[in-house]
Every structure is written in C-alpha cells, then in structure tokens.
Symmetry: C2
Subunit: 264 residues, 2 copies
C-alpha cells in the first residue's frame, strides 16, 4: 500500500548506560518508561542488551492512524545502529508502508514479500499539501482491524485496485487527482461505525477545496489532499468542521518530508 | 487497473454507403461481416444508421487477452466521428483500461467512476519492452471471468493492492521492477486450471531475463516485461518455451505505443 512521509517528526537518542532509562517529551510521553516502550524493545534487540539511556521526542500523536509507532521504531532502530531500520521497524510494527515512508521520505509503495518488507518510491507532486484532521480521541488500531470483514466481494477488491491506480497518478500530478481516487470499499466503510462523523468531515474537506480526502491509516485521523494554494482555506475549514460536528481535535497543515530517516 | 498500449494496431475506416458492408483483413477477418461485428455496432450507433462501408485491418489476435475488441471499438468509434471514443468503447467492451490504453497510448490506469470510464496516464520507463506469448488457442473471456470467485479474502485484496503499488513504481523505473510485483491472488491462480502451462511459461520468461511476468488481461497471452537489452533473449526463450511445453503459439517482441488513437 501507499504511505506518504509528512512533516511531523520523532527524534530518538540511544546511549550505553548502567541500566535502562527512558526520557520522553511531546506526544507519547505518557507511555510507561520501561521495557514495554517500543523504543526500548527495538533498541535493546539491536544492541543486544537493555543497559541503555533512551531519549524520545515526538510530534506525532499516538493511536491516531498517523504511523507514530512505525516512526518511533524506525528512529529507535536507526539510533541503535541498525543496518536496516526498515526491516527492524516493519518486524515490530507490521506496517511496512508506514516504516518505509519514515525511512525513505516522500511517497512510497510498500508491502511484504516472502516475509520481508519491500518498498519503492513513487512520484509525488511538490504542489501537494496535506491537511490532517486529528481527533483528540484515539481509535484503537486493533478495534479498527477487527472491523474489517474476513472476506470481500471480488468486485470490491477490483474497485480498490482501480482507485489505487487513479490515486497514484493523481499524487504524481495533482491536475489528475480526482476526488473519486480515494474512494474505498475495503476499509473506510467498515470502519465508519467507529467514527460516524468521518464521512461528513471528509466531504467538508473536499467542499472547502481539497482535491480528495481519505482516512489516514486505520484512523481516526482524516487526510485532505490539496494544493498549496488551497491549503490554508482547507485547514481553516477543517478546524471549523471539527467544531461544528462536536469532534474535539486539531487540523494540521503538513507538507511531504523528503529526507526520510536522518542519523548522526 | 492498468493497461499498456503495445505496438500492434487496428485500423478502421467508415464511409457513408447505400447499405452495410464490412471488409476485413488480418486478425479477426473470419468474424461475420454483418451487424454482429463490433465495428459495425459501434459505428452505426455513432452515425445513427447502418448504411456504412466499413474496412477493418488488425494486427491484434482475437480472444487472447490482448484487448483486440477494445482496440477495434476505439478505432471504429474514432473513424465514425465519436466525440469521446473512450466512452463509446468502454460502453461496449466493459474494459475501461483496455480502451483507455488504445485511446491515450502508453501506460494508463483506468476504472469506472459513477458509470463513466476514467483514465489517467502513468509514467512508463522507455527502457521497457514486452515479450508476449500468444497461444494459438483462444481462451473465452466469459470462461476466464467465470473462473473468478465471487468473494475473496480481505488479505488477498490487500496483497494485490500492495503488488499494484510495486508494479506501478517498477513500470516507471525498471530498476525498481521486482519479479514479485506481478504476483497476484485475485485472478491468475483462479484461471490457471484453464491454462495449466501458464505458470511454467511465466517462470521461464523470468528465468530467461524478463524482470517480471504476468497474464495479459484474462489470458491466455502471457507478458514478459523486460529491458530492451534482454528482450531478444527473452523472445527467443519464449518461442522455445512454447515448443517445449507443447503450446502452439508465437512470442512477439513489442514496445509501448505512445501515440494512442490517430484519426484523419
């Protein structure tokens, strides 16, 4: 599947120490500072022991479908000296596309081939900006996954393949990005009962000038894909939509990051 | 879905006449020269009557998964003066991607949105060539369609979406084209009993140097995607593979056509 790296960052440092310590700032700083912390698990696996002083600073809201754990796993793996942060992060996170976007930056297609993550870069129009509606309430990923049916109509699988082609073309050139390119029959509809306001919010983003809108990952964050020119208008509309629908949250205006993971 | 326009052509002329006549050369010339002929149906619909002299000349083998009917419908619609040959051809053929490749040339993603065909162009690496194994025996499209299950596992739908992303990236830049990019769980496996030799033939194309191989449409033609440098070797191997497996047929070496439909 696809993922795009956006301009929200997670920084991790890992140093040898007498015993495990984790200090944490920003998003996710409420998580337990012990070996259950994803950064500790990833770093300890790579270094081979847990006598580490780990510092985490993150901009990425947790549990919102924004790939915070993939980003954290990539940063922790890289900070601990992993030869292949993508492999390490995909192994713990299970989302090769999220980890791939964090490692490579930009727009990526990634999947698992014979048990290993495989990622390739796709063209992304530099004109595009991303308005992300981030509800204050998280949506547990496992609940979002359980909402998916085990079987789907063949026609729905074909429907999504058709839309994916349109979406990739539209992300490469925003003039070809159709609102219909983000239509989906494999997860958004099944997950809507977990977030009934989502359809109205996505329609509102498009009404305000976004070219297309979709769920970000398993939600509840929603993505409005727009041109730079329309982006402030869409962000302002997004803030208002959240207020009007009684969904506490923020509308972030982000751009694509093309640097990927940075070490040193 | 995706389609690529390859260097096999169908030419159609349509002229006003006293009564319907159809002359036909090349592939498909054995089809009945009456109103059941696709070119006649398409042209008569556009012109508004059937007093037409239609001439058809085609390179494209019929009933082999090579999009011959979409190509014929596009050519007939354009020759009859259709304002939108894609719409006309997709309406009779039901394959918007085949018609879109014939109209636009190159690599296209196309699907049906609210009942209308929508097509967008995708990047295609000019280094790529296409070796097409064309068995002499056709595979009826309706049988190939009937082989598809009504329901598929959600995981298989996700599998194909992941592969489609890899494939689009690899077609844009052959250095990223992985053999696994054409793996499929939605139609090739279900159709293999209709053409048991297909797996061996595709593996043989890759063994001979193709970057990846897949069914062409609903088959039975098989596509080996390769670099220009490897293409003669793959074609030669393809001819030999057909002989060795006892499947009478040809191995064509084709390149992408970027002109699309040409009128006048």
């Amino acid at each position: 599947m696809l993922a795009v790296a956006l301009s929200l960052y997670t920084e991790v440092t890992v140093e040898e120490a007498d015993h495990l310590s984790i200090t944490s700032e920003g998003e996710g700083s409420e998580l337990p500072a012990d070996m259950t912390h994803l950064a500790a698990r990833v770093a300890a696996k790579i270094v081979g022991h847990d006598r580490l002083a780990i510092n985490v600073r993150s901009d990425i809201p947790v549990g919102r479908g924004l790939g915070s754990s993939a980003s954290l796993a990539v940063a922790a793996a890289a900070a601990a000296g992993a030869a292949d942060p993508l492999k390490e992060a995909a192994a713990v996170d299970g989302h090769p596309e999220n980890a791939a976007a964090s490692v490579l930056g930009g727009l990526v297609a990634a999947t698992t081939v014979n048990g290993a993550p495989v990622a390739v870069e796709l063209a992304l129009d530099p004109e595009l900006r991303f308005v992300v509606l981030v509800p204050n309430r998280p949506l547990a990923t496992h609940r979002a996954r359980e909402a998916l049916p085990a079987q789907v109509p063949h026609a729905d699988a074909a429907f999504n393949l058709g839309r994916l082609g349109l979406l990739i073309a539209g992300l490469a050139d925003h003039r070809m990005l159709l609102r219909d390119a983000t239509d989906d029959r494999l997860h958004q509809t099944a997950r809507t009962p977990l977030f009934p306001e989502s359809s109205h919010l996505m329609a509102g983003l498009v009404e305000a000038g976004a070219l297309a809108a979709c769920w970000s990952g398993a939600g509840p964050s929603l993505l409005g894909i727009c041109t730079a020119e329309a982006s402030s208008r869409v962000q302002t509309a997004g803030e208002q939509l959240l207020k009007d629908t009684g969904v506490p949250g923020r509308a972030l205006l982000l751009e694509a990051d093309h640097g990927g993971v940075v070490t040193g």
